[in-house]
Amino acid sequence: MIERTPVLNALTHVTMALGLVLLILPIWIVFVASTHDYVTVNRVPLPLWPGSDLIANYSKVWATGNFGQTMLNSLVVAIGVTAGKIILASLSAFSIVFFRYRLRMVFFWLIFITLMLPLEVRIVPTYAVASNALSPFQQMFDWLGIAVALPEWNLLNSYTGLILPLVATATGTFLYRQFFLTIPDELAEAARMDGAGPIRFFIDVLLPLSRNNMAALATIMFVYAWNQYLWPLLITTRADMQTAATQLQKIVPGPLFGQPPVWNEAMAATLLVMAPPLLVVIFMQRWFVRGLIAADK
């Protein structure tokens, strides 16, 4: 379209550039601060260009934050949540969309409602369940008067405990359901005419077709799991089970009071924590944006 609006265009460019400064400058400052020594980082105003202490700061904070172990933990959790979610979500959505049974809408709603209550608002009782994952069943047996003593299954300080509650949500199921609904009925019917049963159809047709969705969901789930904070804070007490995000709380003194943090190291730790999901998102941005929008909650 031919449209001559020079003033407006200039304004647009200025706004966009300002937006870039606002949204990206903080990340840059974190990086810059993590490359200076203690004295420089506390100087006012802060230099805007990186210094030379990058390696020193990072190796120091790597040790104090136990990032070798905690980043590994975060990675295990993030991958566990991502894989678990993709598997469970695709299977449950497959069941809901492609099978005919009376309870399918009931099941859909049972799963769907979990979107409404994020983990954080039901954190206390979820913690109680995590201390013995079989307690709901024990309780129910007790009510029913069945004398069975289930063993305790304590999830505190375990990968399972870090992962499972995060998998128990509907985002993925919903995303997959939306996608499956766009697949024409005839495709499933053609597969049946070709002699393929449900599992075969799932593996040969649905999974390859949902590759994009899978990539999107994987990105979203990776970021979501890596960035968990309150839940790992609660259920991990052992040092070797901490995640990277919770380390931030440990390497700075209490919020705003007492000693100010050692900023250069604190910023190095911050960057370590923010880098992996940021890289994943940048790398996967094409699918991520599409998937996030399709999720539409």
Partner: protein, 294 residues
Amino acid sequence: MERRATFDNLWIAAALIAPQLLLVFVFFYWPASQAVYWAFTTQPPFGGSNEWVGLQNFQQIFADAVYWNSVVVSLVFAFLSTSLSIAMGLLLAVMVDRQLPGYSVYRFTYFWPYAIAAPAVGLAFRFIFAPDAGFVSAVNHWFPNLWNPALDGVDAMALIVIANAWKMAAYNFIFFLAALQAIPRTLNEAAAMDGAGVLRRVRDLQLPLILPTLFFLLVINITESFVDSFGIVDIVTGGGPARATELMVFKIYSDGFKGLDYSMAAAQSLVLMVMVVGLTFVQFRYVERRVHYN
């Protein structure tokens, strides 16, 4: 017409959905119903007998000025950070949607903050806005003691609002941009043929058409501000100074896990749940309408 479900092997269907249902039961429905149960009883943490107390827990929290403080703080926080992040996300999306030369660079970078964990955002902004170091402290050079979130509740609130809005602006940007790009090009051209200029089209065409997205984002932002902000508050202010930034989630956490008062925490959780579910319902109703719209 409703979709034909193609397969009817019940055992396979059940086996496929069972794991998800089991997880949801153990980690969602059970805890949620426990929360309700605890909210109406008093129970010592970890075992012991619990006693039915009816609405007593609620009476207690509603009579507590500290609790009301957390509600007010949450609402103020939600209102401020949501308005800020929505305004910013919308403005940037409208600009990028004009597709002037170079816009793809912005489109590529604007959503990065969304990928960053709340506590990392918190710590970064705590440094940038520190009163005696970092970036903003310069103002204290010219106006001594103008800015000090460690002592001034308003400053502290401003700090967490900015941190949260920064993260959410990126998120909002993606959704607004997607909604804008979903508007058919021909509509825009038709409006241009009708003589509407750029700004006029934003007002008369684009904004009304992305209204559903705006509404959806309002709900998401408010919910997130109730929930995800825990990481920011915990790292930046710890609820202080003088409870000026003590959000509801943060108070639930401190009562439940620091004060070990499960019943109080459960009653507060229940109130928060009702608020979040209420918001979500409003959103569903609107989403429903949006479907008819199309």
